[in-house]
Amino acid sequence: MKRTTKQRLVRLALYALFVVLLVALYFAADWPTIRQNFWNPGGVALSGGNWGDMITIGVKNTLIYTAIAFGGGLLVGLVAALMRLSPVAPYRWLATIYVEFFRGLPVLVVLLFMAFGIPIAFQWTPPGGIVGAGLIGLVIVAGAYMAETIRAGIQAVPKGQTEAARSLGMGAGSTTVRVVLPQAIRIVVPPLTNEFVLLLKDTSLLFIIGVQFDERELTTVARDLTTTGPSAGTSTSLIQAALLYLVITIPLTQLVAWLERRQRRASR
């Protein structure tokens, strides 16, 4: 048998197996019970059923928290990245300690520390209450990751670019602004978009610190709706939350993939 024919047969067999499994699953399942336990959102209207709170409180807060954590993290990360590239050694040490420390800890530990540990130990009322403390924790962690991404982006711009600009008589400032940073930004946009997605998912950890009704992000809202509302006692709200997360994250991950493909093509 020719190799390609054999490969095609194997692929066909795998497809057939897949279809058989799907059909078997369909007939084996107890659909009314599944429907009862997993999908009972109580209508599609924004008032009444689950969707209302999930979108107007959950999704809204998730997006706001992600934006705050991302913006703050970007700022902190840029400063830490420039410090890590500084010719002044103490700046480098400080930035390295910060980055390694917070990349080495579970986010949850940092959040608990910011929300409970530090306020109790130092009698400190965080700005914006407990949510503010949690967000500061997310900013600190995000900054540590973004610092590494940004540093790598700046260093990925070849040294010859700086040399060419300086040899034309351009100063250090305009070389950085007109030649190095535009190229570095192009390099870091895809990985930073990835970090945005990671951060968006990490906002669900704010669930653990317990916030007020209007401050809940999506996961907390979904969790609360497993015990109250039209679908109490079922997994419906969790599935709804999952769908809402995916509606936001999948386009973003696709965007990253597209940006990376385009970059690979441009660099060739």
Partner: protein, 252 residues
């Protein structure tokens, strides 16, 4: 305060005196002395690692000399008071790897430094850029991005970019070494034109034909020193030193 020294035309374009350069403990240039006169084309040859690039890069202080003196048009470029960006804008440099700005199209590559360093108006910068693109045979490529040009075209754009600053001299560091053989000729032709217009040039090269035909002087370096220098026919045709003979027998 004394006025900043002005470039002079009555002295050699480049004067290098007792130049030493260390990378850490590694002495790469071990006391170099030589001149490039105005409108002279000096070709620097020598084996890999002999310090040719380092020497060239010291001339516009992309490398910091460890000791010694470098005068460019009579101006000591190691003087802490010197306007280094001003000196550099009068020295064009062309690199082996082209180093065009990949995020800018050809026209922007040629106008960026004209606008930021020379403060030229957009119209003036564009006109000068057009003239130089024409000169290197690339009229019409204004809106192309570097990635869409061949190596030979990119290197000619790099030359045009340097020329757009109206430099008094040009430094070339093995600017044809990264090119496919069939593209080398176009670049060498541009350099030959420049030489015939009286441009002062310091050319690190492995192209012995170019050195012999276009060079006014050939400098042979080995192990961080200038072993031999003189007229191209003399150095390349009747080398006096064993090391020169050994090198030439390998490359010719």
């Amino acid at each position: 305060m004394t006025a900043a020294p002005q470039p002079r035309t009555d002295v050699p374009a480049i004067q290098v005196r007792a130049l030493h350069k260390y990378f850490g403990k590694n002495e790469v240039l071990k006391g170099i002395d030589f001149n490039v006169d105005q409108a002279e084309v000096v070709c620097v040859i020598g084996p890999s690692g002999s310090g040719k690039s380092t020497l060239l890069r010291c001339v516009n202080r992309l490398e910091e000399p460890t000791s010694g003196e470098i005068l460019v048009e009579g101006i000591d470029i190691c003087d802490p008071e010197v306007d280094l960006d001003g000196v550099r804008s009068r020295i064009g440099m062309v690199f082996q790897q082209f180093n065009l700005f990949p995020h800018l199209n050809v026209m922007k590559n040629l106008t960026l430094a004209q606008r930021t360093v020379k403060g030229r108006s957009k119209d003036e910068a564009v006109e000068i850029a057009r003239r130089n693109l024409d000169k290197v045979g690339l009229a019409g490529k204004e809106s192309a991005y570097p990635a869409h040009l061949s190596g030979g075209q990119q290197q000619r754009v790099a030359i045009a970019r340097a020329l757009s600053m109206d430099p008094d001299m040009m430094l070339f560091d093995e600017c044809t070494s990264a090119l496919d053989p069939e593209l080398v000729g176009d670049v060498l032709a541009v350099m030959k034109d420049l030489a015939s217009e009286g441009m002062t040039m310091m050319v690190v090269t492995h192209e012995m034909g170019f050195a012999r035909e276009v060079g006014n002087k050939v400098v042979f370096m080995d192990g961080g020193v200038v072993v031999e220098e003189g007229l191209p026919d003399a150095v390349l045709g009747e080398p006096q030193h064993e090391r020169t003979k050994a090198f030439l027998s390998k490359v010719l």
